[in-house]
Amino acid sequence: MKKEILVCQGSACVSSQSRDVYDALESELKVRGLEEKYSLKPTGCHGFCEQGPIVLIEPEGYFYCQVKDKQVPKLVDCLQEGSVYEELLYKSSETQEPLKTRNEIPFYQKQKRLVLQNCGLIDPESIDDYINSGGYSSLQKVLSMEPDEVIKEVKDSGVRGRGGGGFPTGDKWYYGRQPQADKKYIICNAEESDPGAFIDRSILECDPHRVLEGMLTAGYAIGACEGFVYIRSEYPLAVKRIYSAISQALEKGYLGKNIMNSGFDFDVQIKQGAGAFVCGEETALIESIQGNSGMPRPRPPYPAEKGLWDRPTIVNNVETLSNIPIIFDKGASQYARIGTQQSKGTKIFALTGKIRHTGLVEVPMGITLREIIFEIGGGIKDDKKFKAVQIGGPSGGCLSEGYLDFPVDYDSLIDAGAMMGSGGLVVLDESTCIVELARYFLSFTRMEACGKCTPCREGNTRLLEILQRIIEGEGKMEDLDRLETLSRNIIDTSLCGLGQSAPNPVLTTLQNFRGEYEKHVKERKCPAGVCQALLSYKIIQENCKGCGICMKHCPAGAITGEKNQPHNIDADVCAKCGECVDKCPFGAIVPG
């Protein structure tokens, strides 16, 4: 077998100059006349983005991290010698041992890569690569079945929507199949509006045909001949790859008229959105495709009954659709063995925050948060203490340590006050202030709301104002009750899922970290030392040598003291800039 050099060209690797690495490899091979001997290929993302640019050597599976273009000549030397370029291997954080292949790295060991199985291994712009890895064979199976059988298979698999709500996909398709209509539509929701998530983006960048195959199956099942991919225009690479996938699929007869001689026709168009959080909500998305402003419609009627241009429409998330070929490859019963009773298959998470290893991880449903954070993610960065994890995006919930052994599935997360959401998972350490965190997420959802309905438009602003007051040291105990009742009212009365979930971070932080709120209000203290207005500094008398450096640097003139005598800070004058803390050579100044 010819050796393959696979260079990741996902967005993250590209931003760490993987194009330069690719170009260097290309010219190096040319200069040495090795173009025939080795095949150089661009691939999609491996998920281990912080270690990019990543270069994979097949068939040996050598997994090179943080490759730079100037290391390319040596890399090619090694290739020719058949040796390993050891410095480029990932080192175990415990033993410092270099690990040769991907599967030896702890980041990958607890993962179950099904949807992401091709990512990093095939050229996303080559339909042949996809076909050679088994692609479009599930479509062939589907087209030989009756649409009702297809729907039954999806129902039996137990797969639920990965776009947030977790609605059973088979049931949704069933509802889409029922109505008689002159036209029906399939919409692939690739808006991915959660700012921390890049799951759908990665799938589209790495394996776009998988998404098309899922859409085709959905179209065949409900009797739709037209599909839309609604994708944010901030994803230029994903847009480019899905365009190229569509044109290749058309050429090869996997799209267009009479697909694989089955008599089934299907076309796909791309609609680029301007990137508003609310446009990920299915009815707002439909309005946007129709050329209106992205404002949700009341449901029911659900899109499956009355969607795009009032026709029956199935809206499915990119990751949901990407699961479909797996179901038909494996068979529903095999697929249903993965996961828990009510949540089948895997889920991809975008792991970020104060964690050692960030990136995209695909795990079986039912895995615990502890496994994700401490085993796959390698625990908290800089040996700090775990404090909380925000799961489900900006309108998800913030869970404390007590939830670490909770299984990650749709229903347990809802019970915990959080949600699966889009798969954003932000890990926070002890240096995070929980009130500030709630304020941060709420300020995002408040800005991104469409402004149509009263509770969300007006209510979230008031929540934010209350949080702001607490952060500024002007909170009252009644404010905490207000936060709670107003949050519950917004959730209870808002028109769409945005308002119905935006207060989640407030409610869950109140529920799990009420003590920290009370400290802000009653003692006017921020235990994490984040809220500027609540900070105060003191000089530990025993440690102070009286050098006077702090006094010289304090812009407010708040520090006094005799030479070689312990100094003092006048809290009324102190501007809370923290300059003295940084400047004291003896670490004698501390918050408190």
Binding site: N460, E465, D492
Partner: protein, 352 residues
């Protein structure tokens, strides 16, 4: 025939057509559910959330205006949870509203006031940012005072769906959302036809006719139902009358125009009190118009018709009718011309 379903509202069973919304089912059975953004005949947007009700089995409160009934549905329209939710919505609305009710043109005729009274919302605990806009007086007919706007969106809908002018939209996002013309342009520079339908659906004092400003409190104004005299459509409208003087026009939904009007019916009534208006017949004698009685005038006209007809025949006569007449009047007119005055010379001003 639409099938009927059984719906239980506040403990009583009702049989209503299955395509009804909860709001309609309640309304027809004398149960009042408060609404701010709902308007019969306009698309249902479900924006204000004032109409939320408790539906058994539903996790969240449901908007009565947007939710269809189903067989066996159980609804509570004034439960504690519902009332508290409505009170919260009202507290939020008045927290971002110019609350100078004392001198407000809609004082006493305002849905926001009515509902605050109904649900005993005297004040709001939310003292924070309040949107404050300058009153826009960019056209001769009405003002736009967006510090009073509650963003119900009814002006947007009626302008787009009934007039077809699409003048208004929701601009910006979130708390900064404002309902106004595209780019906040002055109305004379938009597609506005000044039909004024938007002011008639506005539930508060955000859109107010200039002619009524400082002219009287709503309870001092008599509303007189009449027919618009401008064209053959014969739209129904209500004249707002204070001290025997017309100060404005309100919608009247009883006629075939369903309360919709054009700029003439809405704003073109000032001729009524014009000093130049003819109020009795005149005949020109020796170059001067002289006041006569109706009988005298009609006799004179009939005499001249007869003279011309006998002397020159019907072809010497012609009739020109007006677009202000109804179809029936125009029919009678041509019949009269043909049969009595024996002429086919008949035309209509709309052809001029």
């Amino acid at each position: 025939m639409v099938d009927k379903v059984k719906v239980n509202i506040n403990g009583n069973d009702y049989f209503v057509p299955e395509n009804y919304t909860i709001l309609k089912a309640a309304e027809e059975n004398g149960i009042d559910i408060p609404t701010l953004c709902y308007e019969e005949g306009l698309p249902i947007t479900g924006a204000c959330r004032m109409c939320v009700v408790e539906v058994r089995g539903a996790r969240k409160l449901m908007a009565a205006c947007a939710t269809q009934v189903s067989d066996g549905m159980e609804v509570l329209t004034e439960s504690e949870r519902v009332v508290e939710a409505r009170r919260e919505i009202l507290r939020l609305l008045i927290a971002n509203h110019d609350l100078r009710c004392l001198t407000c043109e809609r004082n006493g005729d305002c849905r926001l006031q009515d509902y605050c009274y109904r649900y005993k919302v005297e004040d709001t605990p939310y003292k924070g940012e309040v949107k404050d806009f300058k009153i826009i007086t960019d056209n001769p007919f009405f003002i736009r005072d967006y510090s009073k706007c509650i963003k119900c969106g009814k002006c947007v809908s009626i302008c787009a769906e009934v007039n077809g002018a699409h003048v208004y939209e929701f601009i910006n996002r979130g708390f900064d959302t404002k309902v106004t013309s595209a780019f906040d342009d002055p109305l004379p520079e938009t597609t506005c036809t000044f039909c004024g339908m938007c002011i008639n659906v506005c539930p508060v004092a955000a859109l107010v006719e200039k002619s009524t400003l400082w002219k009287g409190r709503p309870w001092e104004v008599k509303k007189v139902t009449t027919t618009c005299s401008y064209c053959g459509v014969g739209c129904q409208l209500k004249l707002k009358v204070k001290d025997n003087t017309i100060i404005g026009v309100a919608a009247d939904k009883s006629g075939s125009n369903l309360g919709h009007l054009c700029s003439k019916g809405q704003f073109g009534w000032d001729y009524v009190h014009s000093k130049d208006r003819l109020t009795h017949p005149l005949i020109k004698r020796e170059g001067e118009f002289v006041r006569v009685t109706w009988e005298e005038a009609l006799n004179y006209i009939a005499g001249r018709f007869k003279d011309i007809l006998s002397q020159w025949g019907g072809r010497a006569l012609a009739g020109l009718s007006s677009a202000k007449c109804t179809n029936e009047e125009n029919y009678l007119f041509q019949k009269f011309m043909r049969v009595v005055l024996q002429t086919n010379n008949i035309d209509h001003c709309a052809r001029l």
